[in-house]
């Protein structure tokens, strides 16, 4: 009993923390001490000091302000994108499982083809073909991530579809839409939500990876991966330009991972 409470408590704390991160990233944009894009060459390569707590980069821009400014890009892109693939993937999976027959076979063949490519490589190729930009990199990652939801939701529907209560609902005259939305979806949504929560962090990571390769949002968005990629050329003069965005990324990913784990634990405990 006590353990159960602890797990719930942890989840609540992490949810508050994540909500705070999302909200904070939004609010902080308008209240930065230094302009994140104003260049000032005389202030270039300042080591972390009182004025610039994380130092400045090659153009004299404040690293801390850029990190705070870029946070919103990574966070909102990841959360919204995961929400989108969650909905699209689940729709595909449910359709495949409920329709069965040829529709199911075609949809599953398509997922198999997508799965034949190593994830990140497919994303790199899609982003590369579409060109840079926030929208394209999100599309590229979405092309990879929807498969998990399609497959998972399909197998979940198949496991529920033939159960007693669905048959009872059918006998009572419920149509397919009512059965899907009222009886099937509510009973299969928790494993999908856990997957989605864990995907947010991996989305943030892959997104940073893409923009590190120059495939992310175009400048100047101060996205973390892109900032670090720029800073690579002057790593020797100003290592802080890499360390702090990197740490920001690490901490964010850890927090969202913890949230996913906490959510899974709570659902497992029932």
């Amino acid at each position: 009993m006590k353990k159960k409470k602890m797990i719930k408590f942890r989840l609540i704390i992490l949810m508050v923390l994540c909500a705070g991160l999302l909200l904070g990233a939004w609010i902080v944009r308008g209240h930065l001490i230094h302009e994140p894009f104003r260049t000032n060459v005389r202030q270039a390569f300042q080591a972390p000091c009182r004025e610039y707590i994380f130092g400045t980069d090659n153009l004299g821009r404040c690293v801390a302000c850029r990190i705070l400014y870029g946070a919103a890009t990574s966070l909102y892109a990841a959360v919204l994108a995961v929400l989108a693939v969650f909905i699209i993937g689940t729709a595909v999976g449910v359709t495949a499982a409920y329709a069965g027959g040829i529709v199911d076979r075609i949809l599953m063949k398509i997922t198999l083809v997508f799965q034949a490519f190593p994830n990140f490589i497919l994303a790199v190729a899609v982003a590369g073909m579409l060109g840079t930009g926030l929208k394209n990199s999100v599309l590229a990652l979405g092309a990879v991530y929807w498969i998990t939801y399609a497959k998972l939701s399909r197998s979940l529907v198949l496991s529920i579809r033939d159960s007693e209560y669905i048959r009872a609902a059918k006998i009572c005259g419920a149509g397919p839409t009512a059965i899907i939305f009222k009886y099937i979806l509510p009973n299969m949504v928790s494993p999908l939500i856990v997957t989605a929560a864990l995907d947010v962090s991996s989305f943030i990571l892959s997104m940073a990876g893409l923009s590190f390769l120059g495939l992310g949002p175009s400048r100047p968005t101060a996205e973390w991966g892109a900032t670090m990629s720029e800073a690579k050329t002057f790593i020797q003069q100003a290592p802080w330009c890499i360390v702090f965005p990197g740490l920001a990324l690490l901490v964010t990913v850890v927090i969202f991972n913890l949230l996913g784990d906490a959510l899974r634990d709570v659902i497992d405990e029932g």
Binding site: K109, I110, L112, V113, F114, A116, F117, P118, N119, F120, I121, L122, V124, A125, V126, A127, G128, M129, L130, G131, S201, L205, A208, G209, F212, L213, G214, L215, G225, M228, S229, K232, I235, Q236, P239, I242, V243, G246, L249, L250, V253, V254, N257
Partner: protein, 298 residues
């Protein structure tokens, strides 16, 4: 399957917004007039219906012709085959290092589950699993190449040049691997036959090496198949950071130059390698775990 893969790869470049004729002419340093564009498009066959273009492309692919690079004007196939060994050396070495690191560590953690060291390792692997590989690569570069100066910044096809790219790949993957190995072994140890062996007075060491690890060979090999894809994916980032001469770097450079044939054949190659590894593992599995093989024959 093959048709699906090739079609998707083809579709990628077909749907891309850039105009290959324009890129080709620009790269050749020709000022693109409308006439020149038209004739180049015709030359490249871009004015025909999509299915015809795909058919031609597939036929050429079967003959081993993957098109010509827009950038270097050389056949893509020879550019690719020149760089594939680099990527494979990197991947296989990194995978080897990962196994050497994570199987003993994972086993040890499973055997001493709940102990202080286990909890510490769990925490460290949790952190490493959240660490972007390019961040790790840059940190390694800063400390090992610029501060202590033991390894070169730019990876060359040599043992010394191999160390940092391999270390980056292996460390990030090991974090995930150690946790998986630990879970696999813990699950196996819950089998009732383990209690039986203990009751017969068999030593813990004999149980671990003679029975538990033997039975885990199958799942452990499956892990390689799963992780091979992320390993290949990881090489794109690591290769471009350390300028390692492999296909990942080639592809990233091709993306910057909008060199579609190269990107296309890169995707096809990676999918083929990834699939072959997974088929190989499916083939090997019954040899390592005879139970599955026999069941299939029935």
């Amino acid at each position: 399957m093959i048709i699906g893969i090739t079609f998707l790869s083809f579709l990628l470049s077909y749907l891309s917004p850039g105009d290959p004729a324009q890129i080709l002419l620009n790269n050749q340093g020709v000022k693109a007039s409308e006439e020149a564009l038209q004739s180049t498009r015709h030359e490249l066959g871009l004015d025909r219906p999509m299915i015809v273009q795909y058919g031609d492309w597939l036929m050429d692919l079967c003959k081993g012709d993957m098109g010509t690079s827009y950038k270097s004007n050389r056949p893509v196939l020879s550019e690719m085959t020149a760089k594939i060994p680099g990527t494979l050396i990197l991947t296989v070495t990194a995978l080897g290092v990962t196994m050497l690191l994570s199987i003993p560590l994972g086993t040890w953690c499973a055997w001493h589950a709940g102990g202080k060291a286990d909890r510490l390792i769990q925490m460290v692997t949790y952190l490493f699993a959240s660490l972007p590989s390019f961040f790790l690569a840059l940190l390694l570069m800063y400390f090992l190449s610029l501060k202590i100066k033991i390894f070169p910044v730019i990876g060359s096809l040599s043992l010394k040049g191999l160390v940092m790219p391999v270390l980056t790949l292996a460390l990030t993957l090991s974090a995930w691997y150690i946790r998986q190995v630990r879970a696999i072994i813990r699950k196996e140890m819950q089998g009732s036959y383990i209690d039986g062996l203990r009751a017969r007075g068999m030593s813990e060491r004999q149980i671990l090496f003679g029975h538990v690890l033997r039975n885990c060979r199958g799942p452990l090999v499956t892990l390689i198949g799963i992780s091979f894809g992320s390993m290949l994916g990881g090489t794109t980032i690591v290769e471009s950071i350390f300028s390692w001469p492999g296909v990942g770097k080639l592809a990233v450079d091709a993306i910057t130059a909008r060199d579609y044939p190269v990107i296309q054949s890169y995707v096809v190659w990676m999918a083929v390698i990834y699939l072959s590894i997974n088929y190989l593992i499916e083939f090997l599995y019954p040899l390592l775990d005879p139970r599955t093989g026999r069941r299939r024959q029935k």
